[in-house]
Structure formats: C-alpha cells, structure tokens
C-alpha cells in the first residue's frame, strides 16, 4: 500500500478547462482555503441544501455529512425528540445503530435538562449524575467525543453526537462555534421540514377521506334510486287494498281478492327487502376501476417522493428501492395509490418511531402471469402467524381491545384487498425476518 503525502500547495492559478467541460459554465474558483473560509463555505453549502429539503431524514443526513466534513470526524449521530420519553435515532455514521440508540437513551434525560435553556456542546465526561457513568461507557464504545443540542428558536428538538476529529483528541473553540452555527441553521430547517411533512400528511388524509366520501355518496345515490322504484310500487298496491277493505260497499268476494293482492304485494316487499340487504352487503365491492397501461417505475418514484416527507415527519424513514427496469403494468393509478396508502398507514401504525419502512418494487411472475410485485415492509413487532388468515377481513384488528394503540375501524386492509383484486391483482402478507411484516401487492403486466 502506498499512501502519498499531500504535496505543498502550488501558487494560485486559474484551472485549465477540460475538453469535456468546455461547454459548461465554469465552476466557482476556490481561492480561499483556510479554516475560516472553509467553515464559511461549509455553512453556505449546508444552508442551501437544508432550505431546499422538506424531509426530516434527508435534512439529518445533510447535517451529519456536513458536520463530519467540517471537523474531520468519521463518527456522528442525530437523535430527535418524539412523543415518547425516549429519543429517536434518525441517522448515525461510524457506529452501530443499536449502540447509538443505547447512547441516546442513556444521556437523553440529563442532556434535555441541561440544554433546555440553551447550553453549549459538552463532552461525555462532563455529564454527571446517574446517567453519567453509562453515558461515558457507551460514548467510549461509540467513540463519541461531544454532544451538542439541536434547537429551533430556543425549543429543544434533539441532539447531535460527534466523534473525535481525525488525529486529534479535542475540538478547538472555533470548531465548536462552527458546529453551533450549523446546528442553529439545521434546527430551523428541520422543524420546517417536519411541519411541512405533517401538513402534507394531513392534506393527504383529507383528500383520501374526501374520495371515500365521494364513493359512499355515489353508492348511496345508486342504492336510493334502486330502492325508490322497487319499494314504491308494492307499497302503493298494499295501501290501496287496505283502503278498499275499509269500504262497506265492497263485497265479500272482492275482499278475498283484495286480501290476496295485498298479501302478494307484501311478499314482494319482503323479497325486495332481502335484495336490498344483499345489495347493502355487496355495496363495498362496488368499486369502479379504470385500469390503464402505466410505467410503474415512474409511478412509484412519484408516489414515494410524495409520501416520504409525511412518513418522515412521523420519524419513520421511508426507503424506496426498485429494479432498474420494470415492464409496463395495467393499473388504476388512483386505486393503486389508495392500496399503498393503506399499507403504509398500516406499517406506520404498527411500527415505532426511528424504524424504517421499506418500499420495494420488482418484476414478478405469479401463476404463470407476468406482472410486478410491490412490497411494503416494516420493522414493527409483527403479527402472530395465526392471525394472518383473517387480516384482510373487514373490521379485523390485531388487538381487539378498546385500549388498543392503533386506531381505525380495521377496514383498511380489507379495502386494500378489494381494490387490488378489482385491478386484477393479488395481495398477500407474510412475517418479515427478523421482525415486522411484509405486505406484497402483485399487479398484472399490460
């Protein structure tokens, strides 16, 4: 292995434009290169990136990479506060995620208090109290040299941990100032990203509710139209017969005919009521599908991009992966969107903040038919094997108790199955390894 030492800098000169680059606008010259100017450029670069980001996880990654490059460390982690008392690990580099989670949990309470009214970065060795010993031990394992608060306008949001700068055993005061400045910018941007994500998620839910109401309204109109016509006729006949029976001029023979007619009409009504009940039961299956040929790769890219900020705002990381080439499929984009919404909402309900939701798509043949498989995998506690067969039935929830953690009527997965099947597809579920569930939707090729 031959590692070359970095040679002494040459006198400043204008770089020669390369042949392949002649048509491009020239890159801005980098003439200032001391610590101060490097920090300034880093801060500008970070700000530019953060203000174009509306995704909490993306913002966290940008912040950590930037800080690591600013101070020259190979280790960093970022935790955010959540509704829970435990912090949520959003991203880490250079250390095991499990170790980073344990470290965050160990120091969280102590540092939350310490950083509440402000505060500057501190070393793990400065943490006192009961948490001090475990924090110091875990920080040594993770080789974390300091913690710094992440705030937005004095409101604590989270915590950043950084390793030792390469080749050094401490941070210079100027480096700490740069870190604080970067965190101030990042705190505001991440709060903005989180609020944007929550707003998008609420908007999406509102839109889905509106679509569901429109569906219900359409079904109600069809139902009433049906009932109105069918029910009025026998009712009118029965009423007419009963009115005649009360008339003293009607003969005994006519009375018999009237009773017979009223009875027949009533029997018609009984049959009608039975049909109405049948119609009511099957009304949920009255799904209008407008399937057409679609580029699944484009559809999924747009869909994952649209959902990511909302999922991220709930502190789950939506990771999308796709095979390079996918064959065209036959789908109703609106309906497939509803199906995926149900599956991702379900994954959010049954997983904890700080976990990932993996959205994967690939070509897949099933039963000899070409198509594509879209899977949604969570890292939650999973569903017992014996409950899987009932999972796509209406009004089914894993935890039937009144105190169950996840809300909803338990019709989401049943709706997802109906919609998928209406598109000519199939839906299935299996337990993930090592944890969580994998819901897979198969749709036919065009």
């Amino acid at each position: 292995m031959s590692s070359l030492p970095v040679p002494a800098p040459e006198p400043p000169r204008e770089p020669e434009p390369e042949a392949a680059n002649r048509d491009r606008p020239p890159a801005p010259p980098l003439t200032l290169m001391d610590r101060q100017s490097y920090s300034m450029l880093s801060l500008v670069d970070l700000s530019r990136k953060l203000w174009s980001t509306q995704d909490v996880h993306e913002a966290a990654e940008s912040l950590l990479l930037n800080l690591m490059g600013q101070v020259g460390t190979a280790r960093a982690a970022l935790w955010l506060s959540s509704d829970d008392t435990q912090p949520v690990l959003i991203r880490c580099h250079g250390m095991e995620a499990a170790l980073a989670r344990a470290l965050g949990a160990a120091c969280w309470n102590e540092l939350s208090v310490r950083f509440r009214g402000g505060g500057t970065p501190i070393a793990p060795t400065e943490i006192e109290g009961g948490a001090g010993q475990s924090t110091r031990s875990l920080a040594r394992q993770a080789r974390v040299a300091m913690f710094a608060p992440l705030r937005a306008e004095d409101q604590p949001m989270g915590l950043v941990g950084l390793g030792f700068p390469v080749g050094r055993d401490r941070y210079a005061p100027a480096q700490l100032e740069v870190i604080e400045a970067s965190l101030a910018v990042a705190g505001l941007a991440m709060r903005s990203a989180r609020m944007h994500g929550l707003a998008m998620e609420n908007g999406r839910r509102l839109q889905r509710s509106n679509e569901a109401l429109q569906d219900l309204d359409r079904m109600k109109s069809e139902f009433l139209e049906h009932v109105n016509h069918e029910l009025r006729t026998p009712l009118a006949v029965t009423l007419g017969c009963l009115q005649c029976l009360g008339d003293p001029v009607v003969t005994e023979a006519d009375r018999g005919t009237l009773v017979e007619t009223a009875t027949r009409s009533t029997e018609d009504m009984v049959r009608l009521v039975e049909r109405v009940l049948t119609l009511s039961e099957s009304s949920g299956q009255s799904i209008v599908v407008q399937a057409c040929e679609a580029d699944l790769r484009v559809f999924m890219q747009e869909y994952s991009k649209e959902r990511r900020p909302g999922v991220s705002a709930g502190l789950r990381n939506l990771v999308y992966e796709s095979d390079d080439a996918l064959r065209p499929v036959c789908i109703d984009p609106t309906r497939l969107r509803q199906v995926l919404d149900e599956l991702i909402d379900n994954a959010i309900k049954f997983s904890a903040p700080g976990t990932r939701i993996l959205l994967h798509v690939c070509d897949r043949e099933e039963g000899g038919a070409a198509g594509a498989r879209i899977s949604v995998r969570d890292e939650g506690v999973g569903i017992p094997e014996e409950r899987l067969p009932d999972l796509f039935q209406s009004f089914h929830q894993i935890d039937g108790s009144r105190t169950r953690r996840a809300g909803g009527l338990g019709i989401g997965l049943a709706v997802a199955r109906q919609l998928t099947e209406a598109m000519g597809g199939r839906i299935a579920v299996e337990r993930g390894a090592p944890s969580g569930m994998v819901f897979a939707v198969w749709v036919p090729a065009a």
Binding site: M1, L4, V6, Y38, L41, D45, M68, G69, V166
Partner: protein, 121 residues
Amino acid sequence: MTTTTDFEIVDAGRRGRTAVLRLRGRLDAGTAPTLLERCAQVQAQGQNLVLNLEAISFLGSSGIGAMLVLVEQFQEQAGVVRFAALSEPARAVVELLDLGQYLTIHATEEEALAAIDAQAP
C-alpha cells in the same frame, strides 16, 4: 453513469474485485448523497472501490463527510476504498483538514489499484 446538474459519476469498469468510479464536478451537500448511494451499490456487490477525484472542481465539507463515511462503511464489510488523483481543489481541502493518511490517497488510479491488489490475501 450517474449525473446530476453539477456532478457526474462515471463507471470506469473494474479490475478483479475492485470497481473504479471517476467523479466530475462539485461534490457538495447537494451531490454527496448521490455518491453514497452509488457506492452502496458497489459495496452490495462485495467489491472494493477506487474513487478518482481528478475532475472534482469543488470539494465541500459534505463531500469530505461522505468520503469519511465510505472509509468506515467499507471497513465494516471487510472491504477497501481508496482515493486517487485528487484535483487541486480537492487536495487543498484534504490538506487543510490533515486527512491525507486517514483517507489513503494515491497519486494515480493505477497506484490505488496496485495497492489494493498488494493488500489482497
């Protein structure tokens, strides 16, 4: 080839178990995630990696951060990443932060490949 507005990653093939990627343009906060994503694909195939930085016009702190992440990530999987032929802007930043030894920098792509070959069991 992976391309964004200001950044390109050119696949320069592989030698044995080592893939070579040539970077061109600005490696900054906007483009560093693209580099990490592409390198993760290389790592997923169980390959070592040589990154050629000859045509890097700007190396920001996020780019340096990404390079530090790559060193750790490849080490975790018993792989190797080497950096070769640093452009003047890239070299200036690496020198400023005194990261030359940690990042294992080589004068040319060939030297980096030879060093990985020599290290292989």
